[in-house]
Symmetry: C2
């Protein structure tokens, strides 16, 4: 045993020469690129030798004040020595120099986000050796100037424009326009000027010591893990900062050694459509970055695709038939080996093929579906594996109209991608006008500072919604997602002047009724009408969903209250309604007057008179809903929001309402003031209304049971309503509500003489409800976890106000994900776990579901499967996503058990 | 084994005839009265025989739709038969009738709250038998009319005025004024008219069947458990509704059988002062209710007390020397037996003594102290038992000035007893005026609609506070209790017209600067200056606190931020400061300008400039505080409230501030609007400020450590500041804050060259913090449970808004206690338990305390002891209460282990 623990850690894994220390399964440690280089090397494929510094070294680096592990130096030296041995070259040897590339490589692909240095090891001596060895002085100095430029930019943090200007000056002086026109001597001049510029700008010479270069590049790659681009990308893609990146140091091969050299990228299938044809492009006599830089037009790989594109340049198949044949065999082998479409980088150096990277290729949702279904048809993978191959969230792209990717985008503002899909319509600034124009058949986009529950009808009437304020979980965002309306929220660039009937953004003024387009999937607002692509639920979609439904255990329901929502939900495969919010029905213009009359009533009698007017309307809603759902379960939540939400607030609003309804303005204002709350989220709402004013809940229960009786009596499948009480915190509360519900239901059933089954249950949306779930379960037949409010109360964070600090929290790495989007499994999830355990201990068969925003989030659905809930409920448009996520979760759980 | 389970339950326990089925330990089952009657009977004392129907029968009654257990009838019949056997009388026998009393008797004494029926068993036949037996027809009919009146009122629910009117008519007709002037025939007439009145009012005759009478009375006693008085009393005294009452049925003895008969009440010691002298009064030829009714003036028991009062009527000692001697021996025996001061009821029937009740006597806080200390001195009880004898909450009476009980009270309004003690002063309507007049040495009472944080200085300057709105946990109430200022909150009768400089209440108008007195212990507002009694911390108080301190394990700290609070805290025995709220210091007029400048700053630089102005002021505060606390621990909470609390809100306030400070009014208004939050309780506050604007917390940490260095360098005991971060929800947050704190502290320590120890910890006041306490404990050296906010978030209830529904919840029995006053042990407490467990699992020595309002609540302190916290912290004025409660909790815990 040695005394230093660091010696026990292996920081460096070698590959190349027909073998490797690692393999494809070690992505966590070696990053995706490193693991696959090792795998390809072990497969005997032509991989330039190299080694990978592990992600753990990066984690160590950040955990220890940006210092390397003590024994890293020795391990890197050993790795380098092995590469020298395989290649027969020596790092820094002027006669036979080994040159290397230094590339990042995290667990998850983060294309272009982190830094790379090529041609490392070149200096004033080795460049001469390279020239000698290659027999090509021009190539050597071209490589050297590329290295100086790249290294200076990436490691020394110098502006790349400086180098471009120098090169331009030389071209002007030489009167040439393309790089290829420069001779070896010209490049030598450029290199001299580059070095002088570095000396001038940095106050010291460009580093000549290859070891110093190497460690500079390693440090730069580690540092690039924390650059703003990378942070942003991680946040967008839910990649934890704690993972770190690996560093791959690999001997250089050169695609720029003349006409028998080339470099290229390939996909084994079309990543856009999924078509099973080799797809990609290459460049003769070029280095990797030239393909990306777009200075020259790349050539097709196959003859067929060249012809298809009408391209004149020879394809690789035609230009280098032998290498191409070898390449085709290699990529075929890779797809079979990895059992998935591969994204490949390669280089041909003087007629010899080298594989630089392979990875599972990114693809569109459409391609993902096709590839998965095709691979299953080809017998490469099974149905369940096919189900696992499609990212559930990506289905969103398929379920909404989108802007034609080929059309130009005249962006006038960007905000948050709050609800996916695109929509075009005339700008309106009020919910009333949206309703009016909408009723007249006009497509409108509702543009507001922010929305409130009173805007619901207008939001429903609009094709899309834009708000200047508010986050991903603002009222507008949540409601729009529920309705399946595209929405851009928090577009701070938009300055609304409602009085003038216009908004300003990026110096332009858009007047009311002018046409705009919004892209809720990107957060963009465009002037004019963009060309649209309608969603296409292709055969592959149907096939895959059938396979998914076969394996999933969790039922999937929808949150829906209107007929159109319910119909959409069924069309997308919902197996019931998990949340019907009755308050949305209260805002209907035909009812709000009676609702306000009830709120203004001086006593119970007055309230009952007003409620009697609402009863037939509520009943009619439920009759319609039960009819559509044809016997599927429907969970109806009784009145939840505080009563002041139904009243006008400002003096002007009050006056308008008073005039329109004949209600007393003073009384309205006084009542609104009386009902004002400091923290409405924690106020007089939910079942607290039902306890204070039992007559309200009695009316609602009556409406539900009467509707159920009516539907059942009409010969349709008898509905089994699940009557849900919101915001319950105590067993005694649940007992009171259960008794109220049963008493009322029994009355109605006796009056109607129809036998109706129903369940009585509760939202679990307060920490106390979770902790005391056993008490609740004594009286509740089901729990529905209301994870929106549960997240708010568990964190003590108001969704409406969190925008002020949530970004600072995510920037500082305190939150890795917005807990209102993906369930906080450790905290909120632990409370849910406790509630499930304690609820089942008291009532073993209790029905358990989730109906917060998280019900449509794949990671959260995975959690629901793990803790054994019975169903998830989400907005209608997310039902297919939930079905697929539930299937993946079921498969994942089964795998765990193996 | 029998098949019916009901047979297994014993509902009836007999006593009398020198023995009993029960004993004094069975109060839960038999109620206090029943258990003690059984005990006295077993002791061989003269107790009229009878039996007790258990509290379980009452619970059964309410749990089964107000029906009796099936076998109760048989058990009552058996009980009655035994009484008949002992007395030789028969229930309903016209020749030798047994008469009984039917009395309630709950576990806890609820004097006068429930119903009693005496002389039951009388009817038109048995009254003749009673007349015959007693040889006194007048006595028999007097008893009969008493019975009819009492039974009609209690059981038949008839108005007692009806009977009083009839009696008055007879007196008028007979031209007499006192009842004793009525003859047997007169009473017969009265009885006839009483019965006719019952027939008229009820539509049926007064029940003549003694069995029907008996069950009617039993039902009435059970029903009286749920009357409004009883409910209110229970709520006031934290008596659970679930306990139910017992019913005691006992053979009657008559104190109204002539001059050798009497009835009386006695305390074995003076219940007001605690003096060790027999104390009480009696009436010759009277029944129990006559003593209460106050028609005749009762006589003293002892010669000494008669002489002391200068009373002419003979004392019992003089009037009935033999019976008195027996009585004295009996009560002496009872006090020795029960080892506590007894409250006794007795009757003398024709020279024979009967004991009707004994119980531990209620007493004033002062008497409780003296009795406990005296009993310990007499060797009756030990020191620990003495400690257990004083109700901690009662100490509140001793620690504040009170209104002289002898003085008249000119009450003009009543509200909630929000903060104990009394105060007199001139009425002012604004905090500013309170500060001005206060500075001029005037005693003022601040009268406001409600208070806000901006009123803090005014509240501090006032002698007392009255608010027209707000509950027991409103801002005014909480702050006033913290400051030890008497406060009456929610005095809805008060209508303030601040513009006119007056308020109206009960038809009177009180102008500014008029003198009022408030009694924060009763919630009364009085016109004028009432006579005051200053608190007297007598020798008994000191003695008992010494004994308490010896046994308690929990440390007791105070919540304090000002010098005067800290001094008070030490004077009352605080062992440190558990919560110093730094925001109170920010409201100081000398600082608020700099605070506002900081809030208005456009960037970090601007904020730092403003913070630099606040730093020396904060440091000076801490220097003072550390000086006073002389090395005791001081927990300092960094800035907690949302920044908008420091800004003016209305246009007028903004204008005033802008003018006074030169700040830009538009900017102030805009910033206030920007900072406005929908749910400030769940908003941008607590450590979220420290994460968003680290410079604020850095300044505060710097002020704390610089102050500690200064005090230590000055040769005083080195303070060990405990730096506390509020509203932490995540381990990552705590890590960030810990690093910020340590970095800043190290800087200061290096600059000053003084070694200072300090702790860094967190409030646990969010459910997530409790659930993830292990994550927090990785970086936190102490937890302080902020049970105010933890209760708000766990229940999802805002203290500011809960007034709207909390009463409905308590009325409906959903809450038995206000969870903001007494910790909800099942829900919030379970989270605390989880946090303690998970926190200790990660850091075994973590320091644990509580600093919410509950820290001064005895029941909650008991809970803190049970779960093993290290300390409680409460307002300075509650420190003695907490010391005593902690001692009792420690003893209680030890008893549990035995």
């Amino acid at each position: 045993m040695t005394m230093t623990t660091a010696v026990d850690t292996r920081w460096v894994y070698a590959f190349g020469g027909g073998g490797a220390d690692g393999d494809a399964s070690m992505k966590d440690l070696l990053g995706g690129k490193g693991a696959n280089l090792a795998e390809m090397s072990s497969l005997g494929l032509p991989v330039p030798p190299g080694f990978t510094i592990t992600t753990e070294a990066c984690v160590h680096y950040y955990a220890n004040g940006k210092t390397y592990p003590a024994d890293l130096t020795a391990q890197v030296a050993a790795g380098l020595a092995q590469v020298e041995k395989i290649t027969g070259k020596t790092f820094g040897d002027p006669a036979n120099p080994l040159l290397v590339s230094v590339r990042s490589g995290a667990r998850a692909s983060m294309p272009g986000m982190m830094d790379t240095v090529l041609n490392l090891g070149l200096n004033d001596q080795t460049v001469e050796g390279l020239a000698e060895l290659a027999g090509d002085r021009r190539f050597a100095f071209d490589s050297y100037r590329r290295f100086i430029q790249m290294y200076s930019n990436v490691v020394l943090d110098l502006d790349h424009h400086m180098f471009e200007e120098i090169l331009d000056e030389h071209k002007e002086r030489l009167d040439v326009t393309v790089d290829t026109a420069l001779s070896a001597e010209d490049w030598e001049d450029v290199v001299r000027d580059y070095k002088a510029a570095v000396q001038r700008d940095l106050g010291e010479a460009f580093p000549q010591d290859p070891q110093a270069q190497l460690w500079g590049a390693v440090g730069a790659v580690f540092a690039s893990w924390m650059n703003d681009r990378a942070k942003f990308y991680r946040r967008m893609h839910d990649i934890p900062e704690s993972w770190g990146t690996a560093v791959n140091i690999q001997s250089m091969v050169f695609g720029n050694m003349g006409q028998t050299s080339a470099t290229g990228v390939a996909f084994t299938r079309n990543p856009s459509t999924g078509e099973a044809k080799l797809y990609g492009e290459f460049l003769i006599n070029a280095q990797g970055e030239d393909v990306v830089a777009g200075i020259r037009t790349p050539q097709a790989l196959t003859k067929a695709s060249r012809e298809e594109m009408g391209d004149r340049q020879a394809s690789m198949e035609e230009a280098m038939p032998e290498v191409f044949a070898e390449f085709k065999a290699v990529v075929g082998r890779l797809e079979t080996h990895y059992r998935d479409m591969q994204d490949i980088e390669f280089t041909v150096e003087r007629g010899r093929l080298y594989m630089l990277q392979t990875r599972n290729g990114k693809r569109t949702a459409k391609a993902a579906l096709k590839i998965a279904v095709d691979l299953a048809a080809e017998g490469v993978i099974g149905h369940e594996e096919a189900v696992m191959r499609v990212e559930p969230a990506s289905l969103d792209q398929l379920l909404h109209p989108t802007i034609d990717p080929a059309s130009a985008r005249d962006v006038i503002a960007t905000g948050l991608p709050a609800s996916p899909g695109a929509a075009t319509g005339k700008v309106v600034f009020s919910a009333e006008e949206a309703v009016l124009l909408g009723a007249a058949g006009e497509a409108v986009i509702l543009v507001r500072e922010e929305t409130s529950p009173e805007d619901i009808r207008g939001m429903d009437a609009a094709r899309g919604i834009v708000t200047a304020r508010g986050g991903m979980t603002s009222h507008a965002a949540v409601v729009a997602r529920g309705m399946g309306r595209p929405c851009v929220s928090g577009a701070g660039e938009i300055h609304i002047d409602a009085a003038a009937g216009e908004f300003r953004a990026r110096g332009r003024t858009i007047r009311a009724h002018q046409v705009i387009t919004i892209d809720g999937s990107t957060g963009e607002v465009l002037e004019g009408a963009a060309k649209m692509v309608e969603p296409e639920l292709s055969g592959d979609f149907g096939t895959l969903m059938t396979w998914a439904d076969k394996v999933r255990r969790l039922k999937v329901r929808a949150n829906a209250e209107t007929a159109i929502d319910a119909q959409t939900a069924r069309q997308y495969g919902a197996e019931g309604i998990g949340l019907c919010r009755t308050e949305h029905m209260f805002f209907d213009p035909g009812r709000i007057a009676a609702v306000r009359e009830m709120i203004l009533a001086d006593d119970e009698g007055g309230r009952r008179t007003a409620l009697a007017k609402i009863l037939p309307m509520q009943r009619a809603d439920f009759v319609q809903l039960f009819g559509i759902m044809e016997g599927l379960p429907v969970t109806i939540r009784l009145l939840d929001p505080p009563l002041h939400e139904f009243l006008p607030h400002t003096a002007e609003e009050v006056a308008a309402v008073a005039q329109a309804t004949g209600l007393d303005a003073d009384k309205l204002l006084r009542r609104a003031k009386e009902l004002h709350e400091v923290n409405p989220m924690l106020g007089h709402r939910g079942c607290r209304l039902g306890v204070s004013y039992p007559e309200i809940y009695e009316m609602q229960v009556r409406a539900i049971i009467e509707a159920a009786c009516e539907v059942a009596a009409g010969g349709k499948p008898a509905p089994i309503p699940e009557i849900m009480h919101p915001l319950v915190a105590k067993g005694e509360e649940m007992k009171f509500l259960r008794e109220l519900t049963d008493r009322t239901a029994r009355e109605v059933i006796a009056e109607k003489g129809v036998t109706i089954e129903y369940l009585v249950g509760t939202m679990v949306e307060l920490p106390r409800a979770a902790i005391r779930a056993g008490d609740l379960a004594e009286h509740a037949e089901f729990f529905s976890f209301g994870t929106n409010d549960l997240t708010q109360t568990t964190f003590g964070v108001s969704r409406d106000d969190s925008g002020r600090f949530l970004n600072a929290y995510i920037d500082k790495g305190i939150f890795e994900r917005d807990p209102f989007v993906t369930l906080d499994q450790e905290g909120v999830g632990d409370l849910i776990r406790i509630a499930v355990e304690r609820g089942r201990a008291v009532r073993s068969g209790i029905k358990l579901g989730i109906c917060g925003e998280h019900g449509g989030d794949p990671a959260s659905i995975q959690f629901c499967e793990t803790i054994g809930l019975d169903y998830v409920s989400c907005s209608a448009y997310r039902v297919p996503i939930a079905r697929l996520a539930a299937a993946q979760a079921a498969i994942g759980e089964r795998e765990k058990d193996r």
